[in-house]
Amino acid sequence: MISMPSEEIRSHPDADALLAANPEYLADVKFDRGELTLTVPAEHIVAVGRLLKLQQEYVRLSTVTGVDWYPAEPRFEVVYHLLSLSRNVRLRVKAKLPGSNPEIDSLTGVWRSANWYERETFDLFGIRFRNHPDLTRIMLPEDWEGHPLRKDYPVTGTRV
């Protein structure tokens, strides 16, 4: 599953901490252009978030957003950017979701700042966040149809 040699993963304390807690927490590790990306199975996202916040001191969730890889499967990526003030490092966490009925657990219980970012991701990508306190559109009007940042949503054109 993991595309990196195991000794290299061990050199990154965050990846190591996840593996030590539960080998299933980590699906992929990538280190590119000075940034560490951990891919986590979607069902473990809350457990991983809690572990990273409490144990690895990532007190701040900077952003939550999505990437649409249409027509590839799994189609969606939910991308979280974390920041640890005490360790002065950033970390990117990703979870992959299928194109039909993309759903993932909300991280609002771990970082409250996830609230608006998840609403934005829901609004623009149509990814549903389970257990979110107020999963409504934030940027677009409530009666808007479609999710503009999906790749199959046109950039120009008029509605008929």
Partner: protein
């Protein structure tokens, strides 16, 4: 402002003392002048005390992130200006740094220093607008005029460099759009030499002003834990004693070579945020001065012919330059596949650009983390339980730009 009174009928019947309307829902904005743009606040009031608040955003959503995906990296710069229209150069810089990291190119030190100067002038520009409008909100009219006097000079410097006062697009991936104009040192020096004395002028008007102190001291408190958890960045966080500044913590564009302090306060109220930003202005002036005194000679852009536009002169004399120019403008340059998250300390806080490249000349995904979006999320925590008159002071101290929030 539309008001709606809610009277609980059964309560009135059973308890004659409860005839007085209990709660009132008040819509503040989206056209309220002190919301600086189009922020709508839904407030629930008990007398003058706010019991519940909900900010409503999205009125300025223009789909910039979608538009990035159909523009080449070269064209994308123009969109970054329009995100945070009070700090266009900070956004230019963040975007340029992200693309440069994807391309893995280094730009000349001369251009890096020039970028630092421009970013700091932008900070002054933005803080001046903030101070002027914040003071007007609270009732100090004259500060506004003083601030705009200095801001005008900064905009003239931008115009001299790029030909534009606000939507500069001057910092581009690969360097700067043009060389710094002849005589910029004298012009900027003349301004920056007098600027600290101008900050003293603002302080004379406000710092010991009894009304100002009365309206701002002890107002708009929010605990540090809430701030971190809710994602607040920038001067607000620093006024609460957290010394976090991306220029120091994750230096970019040669910031590590400059001598400046990150001002912090511990009072964590509107007044402390005011003092913090004033001190930031003095520090920015110091940085600009260091640039003027010590900028290393060199080119304004990296020598990467397939990415940075050639000089005008070369285009007229060299075939190669003309071809490169044509290629860059028509189809753009290819950026190797990968992803980066680049952070810059803008006047409002942490600006982040997350760019995903699939190896073509257009970004596959370009996400912009606007500091205003993160900060506005904390509005309810800031104003719930306070008086309605303090809402203006509290949200003014956040210094948000709705274009940056809604994108």
């Amino acid at each position: 402002m539309a008001t709606k009174e809610i009277i609980d009928d059964t309560l009135v019947m059973d308890n004659p003392e409860a005839v007085r309307p209990k709660r009132m829902t008040l819509n503040m904005g989206p056209q309220h002048p002190s919301t600086h743009g189009v922020l709508r606040l839904e407030l629930e009031l008990d007398g003058e005390v706010i019991t519940w608040a909900k900010p409503d955003i999205g009125y300025l959503h223009t789909g910039i992130e979608k538009e990035f995906e159909v523009k080449t990296y070269h064209q994308g710069v123009t969109l970054t200006d329009r995100i945070d229209y009070l700090a266009p150069l900070s956004n230019n810089l963040c975007y340029a740094l992200a693309v440069e990291r994807l391309m893995q190119i280094e730009i000349p030190e001369h251009a890096q220093w020039a970028r630092v100067m421009l970013a700091e002038l932008t900070r002054l520009n933005s803080h001046l607008v903030w101070l002027g409008t914040h003071a007007i909100d609270i009732g100090a009219m004259s500060v506004f005029l003083y601030c705009f006097r200095e801001r005008e000079e900064i905009l003239r410097i931008f115009e001299m460099c790029s030909g534009q006062r606000m939507m500069t697009s001057y910092i581009r991936p690969g360097g700067l759009a043009l060389e710094l104009p002849r005589g910029w040192q004298q012009r900027v020096k003349k301004f920056i030499d007098v600027f600290p004395s101008r900050v003293d002028e603002y302080e004379d008007l406000l710092t010991n002003n009894k009304i100002w102190i009365g309206r701002t001291k002890g107002v708009g408190f929010i605990s540090v834990e809430d701030m971190l958890d809710l994602g607040i960045t920038g001067p607000m966080l620093r006024a609460a004693g957290v010394e976090y500044d991306a220029r120091k913590q994750h230096p970019y564009s040669s910031y590590e070579k400059f001598d400046f302090k990150v001002p912090t306060r511990t009072e964590n109220d509107v007044y402390a945020r005011y003092l913090c930003r004033l001190e930031e202005m003095r520090q920015s002036a110091r940085i600009v001065k260091q640039v003027i005194d010590g900028i290393p000679p060199g080119r304004h852009a990296a020598d990467v012919p397939n990415m940075t536009l050639p000089d005008r002169e070369k285009m007229k004399t060299q075939m190669e330059a003309l071809i490169y120019h044509f290629k860059i403008v028509t189809e753009g340059y290819r950026v190797p596949a990968g992803e980066v998250y680049q952070v810059v300390e803008s006047p409002r806080g942490e600006v982040g650009y997350y760019i995903v490249s699939d190896g073509t000349s257009k970004p596959y995904r370009c996400y912009v983390r606007g500091p205003s979006f993160g900060n506005l999320q904390a509005v309810p925590k800031l104003i719930e339980g306070t008086l309605i008159a303090d809402v203006i002071a509290s949200i003014g101290s956040m210094d948000f730009v709705l274009g940056d929030c809604d994108r």
